[in-house]
Amino acid sequence: MEYVNLSIMPRKLFVLMAMAAGCSLTPIDAMALDAVQITQQANSIKGRILDSAGEPIIGATVKVKGSKTGTVTDLDGNFNINAAPGAMLEVTYIGYKPQMVKAGREFLNVKLAENSETLNEVVVVGYGTMRKKDLTGSVVQINPSKIADQNPGTVQDLLRGTPGLQIGYDPAAKSSASIQLRGQNSLYTDGGHNSPLLILDGMAFYGELSEINPDDIAQIDVLKDASSAAIYGAKAASGVIIITTKKGKSGKPTINVSANWAANTKSAYREVFNSSEYMKYREDWYKATTYGYDAAGNWGYYGATSGTPAGYYDNVDNLSQYGLNADQWSKMGSVQLQSGETYQSLYARRLKLNEAMNVYNNYLAGKTYNWYDSTFRTGINQDYNASISGASDRVNYYASFGYMKNQGVVEGNDYHAFRSNMKLNAKITDWLEMGVNVNFQDRSDGDIAVSLKDNYWENNQTRNSPFAPITDDNGNYVQYPMNGTPTNGGYNYWFDRQYLNLDKGYTVLNTIFNAKVTLPFGIIYQFNISPRYQWFYNRYFMSAELPNSSPASRGADRETSKDFDYSLNNTITWDKVFNKDHHFTLTLVQEAEEMRYWDDRIEARNITPSDALGFHYISGANMDQSNFSVNDTHSTAAAYLGRLFYGYKERYMVTASVRRDGYSAFGSNNPWATFWSLGGSWIFSEEPLVKKALPWLDMGKLRASYGTNGNRSLKDTYLSLSNLKSDGSMVYYNNGNADIVKTLSMSRLGNPNLEWEKTSAWNVGFDFAVLDQRLSGSIDLYSKKTNNMIMEQRLPNYTGFSSITTNLGEVHNSGFEFTLNSVNIKNKDFEWTTSAGFSYNKNTIKHLYYDYDANGVERDDTSNSWFIGHPVGEIWSWETDGIWQKSEAAQAALVNQKPGDPKVINHCTDDDKVLTDGTRVPVYNDKDKVFLGTTNPPIYWNLRNEFTIWKDLTFSFSLYSYMGHKSLEGYYLNQDNGGSMITNAFNVFKKEYWTPENSSNTYARLDAVGPTGCTSVQKLHNRSFVRLDNISIGYTLPREWTRKAMLERVRVTASVNNVFTIDSWEYGDPETSGLATRAFNLGINVTL
């Protein structure tokens, strides 16, 4: 008998290990083992435990109720237990509802239902895992499979919709949106300072999120409060996002292949004028230059002082209102009809179309071209993924390959990436387990897209006149579509593109190796190391063949850089239950990191005898005009930490941690800092009294935590050191020859006392589930304080330095988050679930430089728009108040304005200038500025509804909203002639504007100005919006069909991203301020 027993033992252990490989040793497993004592009895019951999909469940615990007899299922889900027929068996497994079955004489087939009570889910908490039930902090788990129908292209897409996380929006082909958790902690923003720490399969991940294929992700855990995050101390002040990739399931190998296609269209961007609107606009523009009083004292076009005869800029068809005939019209003013000229030509010349001869000629010929259509396109996105996974007795594997090729809606905006992931875990011996995880990515970086930049000196072909041609009569692209010459000649992307070439991207290898040794007395030792290699290459070619270019500034850029980082840790975990009720988990970690970076850059210019070889040949470059540079960096970090979890009766839980962190960037003086945390929770629903009193309460839990964290994300690891940088050369004459001296200048003022920024935070939470789990949710209240902020303390620039990096200031974030999940309808053929999230964050700057005025009030930093008692992003500006109308010309003139210009509220009247006749003239300065709101949305909410019909057809839609924020904008002033753009006949964005005939109190006149003192005063806008982010449909083909084709499962999906927005912003998309896209997706997913 003993013999049998022994043979079971290792097998059971292995099963346990297999589980632990992915999620470490969880307390419940340990307890399960302890609780089960195996004794051989005469009657044996055999059976098999399966999940709802019919897959075997490995490692489920089967116990005879009321006895100490128990066992665990094997790899095929089978068990064999000594029990008498008729005994009650209790089957339990993490994530599944416990089930009682009566043992019969036959083979038992037990199907476990998945537990919608997510409390028993295993959550990754950093250097280990915990049952969600045991958590003392605020942790959110995201299951990517839930939104698989949407074909999320990025990890950000998975995260969007999590309360407390603010995910940005990026319309580009690559779509790399920003992430922020619970408000902006710090005024320092460089180096991704306010972004959460990323953890990939247990190790800090310093790559970019695009390296991780969403298809490979099994689960994401977001640590929101300081106590959970404190285990990551140094880098976790802005929260932690823990990504766990998929692993193989035992059974036959699974092959999964998916393909997704999307049509990407422009959903929002400002339009430009078409040809007739363009002419009308030009007419209005020039008429606007003649504003003034006429002889009768009325204000309008063609004022008496303008010297421009009435009707001069008007079209010849439009003269009756001036009492003119065409002949009179053609002979007045400075530009008059020439010999043989048409009226149309005269009109065009008066509107200065002849400043751009191509425009002028095409206008007369009636030829137009749509530059806007030539700029935007419908992009096609493709995303293909394949994976193979499986597990055997001792080895668990998962391998995937994905290829993504995206086209943005702007011509030339392309992105592609190859991603693969290989994961292998092997149990070598009973006590040793090893794993490896290799992540590979090759991605493009940047492209040569049509530029939408709108400063006048930047190339932007949408501004070309609608009369400017793209090709000449022979069909060749025109270099200067506007006037045919290099100056103010306009820009044709398609012409320039012929002389450019770019090959730029990253190749990344992220690896994780781990070893786990099970030691006696419940101690587990782990060693993890994650070397990361990143190679960047940039090959850019600008041909000097580009007509009218200067070879001295054209040629090839060749740049490569290499990052080699590693982080390693030694972890000891000791997990022990005393007297059944006292559960301890102790974790001790020692950690070290080293980051190295090398960058080489060559800018070869003026390559002779020919640059026909593109960026493949640079030896012929003119050395004086070329450049080479390097930039290498090296930084190190180290940490020691300890964490103790104590649970009593599975109802009372406490977690405490302490961590000491060191980082080389923090001066010679303060590399080390200590962070700690304490958290507790109480599952009051488990109290017998509560159970009795509130039978409808399935679960209720209160949590409270407090912790401190640091922040070391910096723009530059050498920020605390003064630098001397090369500022080029100074060349003297030495006996007629050039004497070249390499200059050095100091651009950064060092600060040897720079130290860690610290964030401390408390969090109070409440989790609940009621009505048989139909309604569940949680509420979290938090308050964070960041002090010793890494700050660019502003210095008066006449010191030679505009700032110094130092530790100052204090910012608070407080708010609450509310999550609700409900199963509205659930029956055999129809299920409707709703999940909603709401978060509110209040951000307040408490201190800046601790610099007080005579009254003891701390001073604001107006230049950065930082104000004590106000949020980061506070808008402090002048307040506009409509538009001066014609009747108010005299008042407007006092402050050098005209009707059609914006009125500005004169909040401070004490400093008004009083003229000798007693007239008060407002003086506009900082005293007239007021607080107008914040640019960062305090409110975020989202709502998602899912419908499942006949189990195989799902439909869902989700929307999200940012609310309560505002922004300033100066577009309404229509100051369009910067860089003489109007003079040179360029087009502008379609717009409304004030004219004497069509006056408005919202839009200003063309070329409007603010009053003296704030001539470019901006206007305030409400930026709140709601976006219907996604609608998707998914359908799993009937298995009876697919099985015939030897396919396990075939699912087809269709979805639309960014369906619409509700907002009041008129200059494009409310979230990006400009361009946004809408994608129509189609996908198919096949499992073999």
């Binding site: 002849n354 005009q625 970090a637 004497d739």
Partner: protein, 667 residues
């Protein structure tokens, strides 16, 4: 047993791994790889030299920013007697009404098409930092003897003095910074301009003692004793030490082998000789970048170097300053416009005999000259002096609009000279009168009709020259020799003339003015001069070379201090010359009086090309406002705003003794 041994092995691995990264502070040591640290790098002469060379390099970047239509330098002329902003399509950014537009919070820009006034604040203090870098480290450097150390100090003092000379004359009472701060300081008080000038005199007296004369140096472009003397003479004027100013100027004129160039020399550089031939003459050669540092050039005191690809900044002098002759507002007498065109050499219409863009540049008229400069000051007894080489059309130094010829091939007037008014009716083939006699043929005389002192501003645009498709010849571009004068002996004579004038020696002053005039072959010689004559001579001689507004401010200051009358007999009170407001005709200061008497300022609105412009200045605009950003960044104390601007208060404390300001910095 095996189990145990494996545990042992595992533990050993753990211990080893721990030791491997045993995290002492040495593991966390900082390891700067690709940049120098100041304390180690500035510890020897090579380091100091690299720091000092930044000062030399910045001489040009103050006035050039490498791009833009409006060169930064022009901001020193927009509010002067001889210049006006002229970019008429600038809309609200047009720089005419400084009275209304120039405030501490708006009106001053770092560059771009309006002005670069803020740039002079920023770059001025950047230059001060470069000089202070040398001064802060020079005593710590090893292996230098005292004399070498003093040469470095002297050169740095020169650079700092030059920056403060202009900063003070542009911005009045300003914060005085004399070292590299070692901890944040935000409680600067302003130092009075009088006190700053006393420090400059002190520093420059040190510099002239130690900095070697050019004859003892190998490099041209480094600070020499001559430049220190020249600047010192100017500073003596400001501080009222006229005798010392005269002596210093005399010393410089007499003892360093310098003399005005009298004859043609160096390399002959010109545009298209077939279109606009230049007869070689001394002033043409003197102002070519190629000749600034020619060993034969004995008039050079110190250059601004801009000749080598490794240190080159574009300077679109011709583009910014020359009339916008090639646009649609100019029509020919038959009504065809544009009458003047920029035609590239690879264009079918190209005609080498009518190739104006290569001869006189592609002006876009952002900045123009006043009538006082381009007409009044050349008149002798009512007729223009075209004999003066600086105003000489026949040798090609000076180009009137009427010298340019129509270049539109469609025009029946092709190749004929520009004319401002139609001299006869033009009747087309159908008998229709297109142009009437007397019609104005230029729609925008502000921007597109004024003469050009070509000899001063012509720069061979090498990049455009090398590109047959180029129809823009803007000024110094890559490959060009863009050298300019920082100081030139002709100005030393004019400084001495001032020194003599303030001492009452108007005939001696006339002698100095005549030296400059004689070399230029001017018709008229003075027997006695007014301060107006001296400033007019500066305008003739130093156009786009001197910083006109600051120099006028200096003269206005000196005049008030000396109590001497101006050419109209007005005297100014040193107590009030910089503390008056208003736009009326009386009072103010000498700068203000010249602007309203000699230029378009404060004469009401004018029309050009259908746009109403009003050139206006206030008496208080003599100094530009202290930028609001400088005031708000100085949170611990109030900077003093200049009189007349929002925020000015007489009660704002300032240092009136530079030593106190320096002591405050070091406290």
């Amino acid at each position: 047993m095996n189990y145990i041994s494996n545990i042992f092995k595992g533990s050993a691995a753990f211990v080893m791994a721990t030791m491997l990264v045993s995290c002492g502070d040495s593991f966390l040591g900082q390891d700067p790889l690709s940049f120098y640290e100041p304390s180690t790098t500035y510890s020897n002469e090579a380091g100091l030299k690299s720091a000092l060379s930044m000062c030399d390099k910045e001489l040009k970047t103050i006035i050039m920013d490498g791009n833009g239509n409006v060169i930064p330098m022009a901001s020193n002329y927009n509010m002067s007697d001889i210049g006006l902003y002229a970019k008429t399509d600038m809309g609200g950014g047009f720089q005419d009404n400084f009275d209304a537009k120039l405030t501490p919070t708006s009106g001053m820009n770092g560059g771009g098409d309006a002005n670069a006034m803020q740039r002079f604040w920023d770059e001025g203090y950047t230059g001060v930092k470069y000089a202070n870098t040398v001064l802060s480290y020079v005593d710590k450097a090893q292996g230098l003897d005292d004399n070498t150390r003093n040469i470095y100090k002297g050169r740095a003092y020169f650079h700092r003095a030059l920056r403060y000379y202009y900063l003070t004359l542009q911005f009045g009472d300003i914060p005085l910074v004399t070292n590299i701060i070692t901890k944040p300081k935000q409680d600067y008080k302003s130092t009075s301009k009088e006190a700053i000038f006393k420090m400059l005199v002190n520093d420059l007296e040190f510099a002239v003692k130690y900095v070697p004369s050019q004859s003892a140096m190998t490099d041209i472009g480094m600070v020499n004793k001559e430049a220190c003397l020249h600047l010192l003479a100017k500073c003596y004027l400001v501080t009222g030490q006229y005798d010392k100013a005269e002596q210093t100027a005399t010393d410089l004129i007499s003892n360093y082998g310098l003399h005005l160039m009298e004859n043609s020399f160096g390399t002959f550089v010109a545009g298209n000789q077939k279109t606009w031939p230049i007869t070689r003459n001394v002033l043409w050669d003197l102002h070519r970048g190629e000749n600034v540092c020619d060993p034969a050039n004995k008039e050079l005191i110190m250059p601004i170097l801009n000749f080598n690809d490794q240190n080159f900044t574009g300077y679109s002098l011709m583009r910014a300053c020359f009339a916008h002759w090639g646009n649609g507002v100019i029509k020919d007498p038959s009504g065809i416009s544009p009458a003047g065109k920029n035609i590239a050499r690879n264009n079918a219409d190209y005609d080498e005999n009518n190739d104006w863009v290569r001869s006189i540049g592609r002006g876009i008229g952002c900045f123009r000259t006043s009538k006082h400069y381009n007409q009044a000051i050349w008149n002798v007894d009512g007729t223009p002096d075209y004999q003066d080489l600086r105003h000489n059309r026949s040798v090609g130094n000076w180009v009137e609009m009427e010298d340019i010829r129509y270049t539109n091939k469609k025009s029946p007037y092709y190749g004929k000279n520009f004319q401002l008014y139609a001299t006869q009716d033009y009747v087309d083939g159908t008998g229709k009168t297109i142009v009437h006699k007397g019609d104005l043929l230029c729609g925008d005389t502000i921007r597109s009709w004024y003469p050009t002192p070509l000899y001063q501003c012509y720069i061979l645009d090498k990049t455009a020259e090398g590109n047959l498709g180029a129809n823009q010849f803007n000024g110094a571009s890559t490959g060009s020799n863009g050298n300019l004068y920082l100081f030139r002996l002709a100005e030393t004579y004019l400084i001495r003339a001032e020194a003599r004038f303030y001492q009452g020696n108007t005939t001696g002053a006339a002698d100095d003015v005549n030296v400059v005039r004689k070399r230029a072959n001017a018709k008229h010689m003075f027997t006695t001069v007014t301060i107006g004559d001296i400033l007019d001579e500066r305008a003739r001689e130093l156009y786009m070379e001197e910083w006109r507004q600051p120099e006028m401010t200096r003269v206005a200051w000196c005049l008030a201090k000396s109590g001497k009358p101006d050419e109209w007999g007005h005297t100014y009170d040193i107590k009030t010359w910089d503390k008056q407001e208003g736009t009326d005709r009386t009072g103010g200061n000498y700068w203000y009086q010249r602007l309203i008497n000699y230029s378009l300022f404060n004469n009401g609105a004018i029309q050009s090309n259908g746009i109403s412009l009003e050139y206006k200045v206030n008496k208080h605009n003599i100094f530009w406002p202290i930028p609001n950003s400088a005031i708000t960044a100085n949170t611990g104390a109030a900077l003093r705003q200049n009189y007349g601007y929002d925020g000015y208060s007489e009660s704002t404390q300032m240092w009136t003794n530079w030593e106190d300001a320096v002591a405050d910095e070091n406290k």
